[in-house]
């Protein structure tokens, strides 16, 4: 399930680079209750990775290793991968998406792959614009769309719409921005603060 932090930042990332493909990682809290049902993985945050050319390996490896180390420190685990393709009509996962998501599911069996539906992406965020894929029998299968995957859909929608309206995406930092200048913080503390402020 997705907490609104993750949802907001995914959309802000896509909004910041409307003419590029973008991707990123979702992180969940590591500690899970024993008797909880299968899909009680809560994605508490997300780390935007790249924009533009997603199909190159070295920086992706760096990002995965670095973010993994950061996760361990904060008792998180990399739990998913999101991607928004370059073209509006194209929402299917491609080779890059499947490769990265597969790698994540090696470490976390309930990993999800999320594709953003660019065609339904509007400022008001009336509908969730995600396609969520789960790994079954070595294939990625798309879930039935619903708002069940959100911890609190109304909050998520309200907050995301507000952030898009105020163009907060201009200050969103992804891993590419971080590589351009190390002082850019990919944990996005300022955006996190804005989100909390809007709750």
């Amino acid at each position: 399930r997705t907490y609104f932090f993750s949802y907001c930042k995914m959309l802000l990332h896509a909004a910041k680079y409307p003419h590029c493909a973008v991707n990123g990682l979702l992180v969940a809290e590591k500690h899970k209750k024993k008797d909880s049902p299968r899909d009680s993985v809560l994605c508490v945050d997300c780390v935007p990775l790249f924009h533009g050319a997603l199909a190159l390996a070295p920086m992706l490896e760096v990002a995965l290793t670095l973010i993994d180390a950061w996760c361990k420190e904060n008792k998180y685990v990399i739990a998913g991968y999101y991607q928004a393709n370059e073209r509006i009509k194209e929402a299917r996962p491609n080779q890059v998406a499947e490769k990265v998501a597969a790698r994540i599911s090696e470490n976390f069996s309930e990993a999800a792959m999320i594709m953003l539906d660019n065609s339904r992406f509007t400022m008001d965020c009336f509908v969730p614009v995600l396609f969520i894929y789960d790994h079954h029998d070595n294939k990625w299968k798309c879930r039935e769309p619903s708002t069940d995957c959100f911890e609190d859909w109304i909050e998520a929608q309200k907050i995301t719409a507000a952030l898009l309206e105020s163009k907060s995406y201009e200050s969103l930092v992804d891993f590419d921005n971080h590589l351009d200048d190390l002082r850019n913080d990919w944990t996005n503390p300022e955006i996190n603060k804005s989100v909390l402020h809007l709750c």
Partner: protein, 252 residues
């Protein structure tokens, strides 16, 4: 309406939906009054239309560019715009083919070589992407970005030879610009992988361990300097140290 479009053009806004709405009306109802402006407005609307996937407008634009080229076959801007339309419509192989043809004639067009390398990368044709970057490096030997990108492509291709080549180009990029973090990370990753490979001689392994260690210390230093004074970045510094440590284990 004309002024709105001009403002958006000047400020480089990519508010595509609005541009299409305003632009479409302007073109359909008031084309005769636009005069010379009409071309630049057509172009602005077309780019916006592509963003919004308005294929019908894109088709019209294509026809316009065709007519421009009939009158003036050397109009490179029109040719490149046509190729952009193909790319935006997802017709990658056609875009690639057209771009290759274009480059046979206009072999010095760097923007085009770079665009072609991107198209190849998206199609996972790394060998051809490398070729494009080689052209760019030949004509721009001091450009650290091309060296670094070439390193990334070689690394992605994989295999011991490509990793060693990648390492050399990352090193070259660093020589040209010692603050290129991607090149630094790239050097670290490629040297580490070469050192960890069972196929290398003891000497090659030793050398690469040294390169990796050097890169690691530079990376740490860069993070320390960036994190100075910022409490939050301490997290990143620690994560980097851990990452460097974890890779050390695989090397030995």
């Amino acid at each position: 309406m004309r002024d709105k479009l001009r403002k958006w053009r000047e400020e480089n806004f990519r508010n595509s939906e609005q541009i299409v709405d305003v632009g479409e009306e302007l073109i359909n109802e008031h084309a005769s009054k636009l005069g010379d402006d009409i071309w630049i407005i057509y172009e602005q609307v077309m780019i916006a239309a592509l963003d919004c996937s308005r294929d019908d407008l894109a088709w019209d634009a294509n026809k316009l560019y065709d007519s421009i080229l009939q009158d003036d076959p050397t109009n490179t801007a029109a040719r490149k715009r046509k190729i952009s339309i193909l790319r935006a419509q997802g017709k990658s192989s056609e875009a690639i083919r057209e771009l290759n043809e274009y480059l046979e004639q206009f072999v010095g067009d760097q923007e085009a070589w770079h665009e072609l390398s991107e198209l190849y990368i998206n199609e996972h044709d790394y060998a051809k992407a490398a070729f494009c970057l080689e052209e760019l490096m030949m004509t721009n030997p001091h450009n650290h970005l091309y060296c670094e990108q070439y390193g990334e492509v070689k690394y992605t291709q994989g295999g011991l030879e490509n990793l060693e080549l990648a390492r050399k180009y990352f090193a070259q990029a660093l020589k040209l610009n010692n603050r290129n973090m991607r090149a630094l990370f790239g050097l670290y990753m490629s040297a580490s992988h070469v050192a960890a490979s069972p196929k290398v001689s003891a000497k090659v392994k030793k050398d690469n361990v040294k390169y990796a260690a050097w890169a690691a210390s530079q990376i740490s230093r860069a993070y320390q300097m960036a994190g100075r004074g910022k409490k939050e970045n301490k997290c990143s510094v620690k994560a980097v140290e851990e990452m460097l440590e974890s890779m050390q284990i695989t090397m030995s």
